[in-house]
């Protein structure tokens, strides 16, 4: 990223504040994707501990049976739900489904692709992720 190119860079890509809920969804999608990838790698490492025998496996599993471990699992559940629901919305949009039809634009030019169907999809993904997080917390801390 050189000054010649004057790219906005990662800071600009990750800034969710200027372009509405669609840009927030874009940012959360990237964040949850990276989070799930990190969880996938950690999960493989965790399950590989079974090679250390039952004691080693139980010792490692005990690390996740803590309040911090439970919150971490809750976040993984929330990321999974958001990424799935928002991913379905994005996949449909990528196929041209629900993005509106071309028409002669009238001022003030409300973009049809940013319509209420997609906004409902984004808010649904966020709300369902929050519900899944709270349900996960209730199950893990309610033992």
């Amino acid at each position: 990223m050189t000054q010649d190119e004057h790219k906005e860079g990662f800071k600009g890509m990750a800034n969710p504040s200027r372009y509405g809920i669609e840009r927030v969804a874009y940012w959360l999608m990237r964040l949850s994707g990276l989070g799930l990838l990190a969880y996938f790698v950690a999960h493989i490492y965790e399950t590989s501990n079974i090679l250390r025998g039952r004691v080693g496996w139980d010792d490692f599993l005990a690390l996740t049976q803590t309040p911090e471990g439970h919150v971490g699992m809750g976040i993984v559940i929330a990321m999974c739900v958001f990424h799935t629901v928002n991913g379905i919305r994005v996949m449909l949009g990528h196929g041209g489904v629900g993005v509106g039809k071309p028409t002669r634009p009238d001022y003030p030019y409300d973009p049809a692709s940013q319509n209420y169907r997609h906004k409902i999809g984004i808010y649904s993904a966020i709300i369902l992720a929050a519900i899944a997080f709270m349900y996960g917390m209730a199950v893990m801390f309610g033992e």
Partner: protein
Amino acid sequence: MAQVSDVADNQPPQTKTLRIARFNPEKDNEKQFVEFSVPVEKWTTVLETILDVKQHHDHSVAVRYSCRQATCGSCGMIINGKPRLACFTKVSELDSDVVTVEPMNNFPIIRDLAVKFERLFDTHHKIKPYLDREDTELESDAKEFLQSPEELEKYIQFANCIKCGLCNSACPTMATDSSFVGPQALAQAYRYVADSRDKGKDSRLKIIDDSHGIWRCHFAGSCSQVCPKGVDPAMGIQLLRGYMLGFRS
């Protein structure tokens, strides 16, 4: 007219602060902001405040402009954090005492607020922005290519593009990928693919079917939110991808 004049007489112009990013790539290492006090009426545009600075304070401020009516696409810049046309943005609608203007992101800076458009024009040219077919309607004995109003509606929205570059400046993929074709060119690819007179659909889809082409769009929609002409590039790109995925024919 008398009423307009009365209102103007009763309300003296306000003074606002205009912060202009100054940068000369040949001399400077980073942008520096210079502040000016400018008079502002209810109808004053950001471009008019910049021209006021050039006329009364510092004529060396570099800015590109021409039509002053959102038609030429020359005066795109970052105004209070978002890409906008300076001639199409009234200071009063920004609802701020400080107006900050910077050069558009994702475009190399020539100086101050003026940026290079070569890459945008290159990518625009790359997708063949013309009717691609063997025959022509320009010869004297040729018939014009007929088109129904319904066929026109399929692409006329995308023909409004003025190549101002605001969509490319707002795009999060453009922010990190130097090779990405960009929303402007992709929307124009759709404009010609959807045109019933065009015969170059397959070759055009082949051009954008690239790792830095249409697949790098993640439907953030920021391009459509900043378009000053209602082109909605995000819609065009998704509809275009619909052709490639087999959702449309």
